[in-house]
């Protein structure tokens, strides 16, 4: 479906230029004392929010930058001020 994303370098571009990089899950867990559960949580598990979520994108067919943005998964629109709307 149609999607426009704002690349921090190139500005608003067609969503098909980007690669989705998953939900924002915080920093990669420290490898010391890492349990399989914690690793699985970080690698595989998703909240699958029906609403606004913070997520990673890469401008694959453009400048190649990785960035986070907020998007409403129920209407597929980027959101500028997630705090105000969530």
């Amino acid at each position: 479906m149609a999607l426009t994303l704002t690349c921090p370098v190139c500005g608003k571009r067609n969503g098909y230029e980007f690669r989705y990089g998953g939900e924002e899950k915080g920093p990669r867990p420290d490898e010391a004392d890492l349990t399989p559960q914690a690793w699985c949580e970080y690698v595989h598990m998703n909240k699958c929010v029906a609403g606004i979520q913070k997520e990673w994108w890469c401008h694959k067919d453009g400048c190649g930058v990785w960035f986070t943005t907020h998007r409403n998964t129920t209407c597929n629109l980027e959101v500028d001020t997630p705090e105000a709307q969530s």
């Binding site: 479906m1 999607l3 098909y16 989705y20 998703n46």
Partner: protein
Amino acid sequence: MLRKSKRLWGDQAALKSSYDAVIIGGGLHGLAAAYFLARDHGIKNVAVIEKRFLGFGGSGRNTAIVRANQRTQQNVPLYKEALELWPILTKELDYNLMFFNCGNLNLMHSEAAMNTARMNVATAQFHGVESHLIDAKQCKELVPALNISKDITYPIFGAMYHPPGGILRHDAIVWGLAKGAAKHGVHLHQQTEVTGIGVENGKIVSVETDKGRIKTPRVLNAAGGYSAALSYQMLGIKLPISVLTIQAMVTQPLKPILDHVVSSGTYHAYANQTLKGEIATGAHMDAWPNYTTQTTAYYIKHQAEALSEMLPCLRGVKFMRHWGGLADMTPDMAPIMDGNNLIEGYYMDCGWGYFGFKSCAATGKYMAQFISSGNCPEMLKPFNLSRFEQNRLMGETAALVNYTPDN
């Protein structure tokens, strides 16, 4: 309403204040589980809770293809059983499911793909599923409309031919199972939304809906595309699922030209001719998770390009309708069927991605066994949720597992 005929599943019963089992989701998996619970296990006091109408989700949005030529030996027996159940269910439900076992042709476009197909065929044959490896010339003999010339983007090297597969009318199986479940006493509550799941001391006690509270010791999450969000929101259980839109479309009706299901992983396209004559065709998933079922010109172009190369006689044919549905994808393309462990009485049947349709009958049968006894049947044990923690992902994709949402 001038309509005199009654609903197949009778009038909607009033929501009772308690049920022996509550099934969330009035799609094929929920209905099949309810049907088998009531028919085989004596648990007839069952409610199926559906937010919209029966078959609104993936059950009515798939391309109606059924087959049992999956890749791993844990998966194949389940789909084989489903394939064998269609003719039996047609009789049992006294409803024409329009099962047409025309056979599936999975096209291969490289030597590497042919090798993968060789292994798939061996797995199928080991499990007693008919499946053959055929070359390009044999493909052409089976489907004369196929373009086997070398001057297309991905020339056809051969195919995996799976004669017992085919197509099944997707609405018919929804209505048939609904009718069968209702006949055995199951209550089907449409336009009823689950708003919460009550847990006390690690046990399921109730389900909250917008029509009232239901006391129940057992809940099955069979909400398809919405199952992962529901699981996290209501129970705090995260699942390794990404929800992606998958688009499909049909062309204008044509005279019979295609009497097999033709699919190609490389072109990301699959097509079959419906009994009405339309070419029903589906594409790859959209590449980012979302809950819309919006469609895009991008995939119309994509399908037109793929089909006009594989089946050049379709050039110039018009698409009539185009729709989208949700696929709950897991990293290993295999479902998650688990339960009664994290929370007593909570069962899940989700993560089916785009395999939910072809597996629904067999899964319902085994989930009903699981829910009635509390013990996981052997058939479903490989599909537990803990396989992700143990890093024992199933190899349903021939390539390495990679961490994108759409693998």
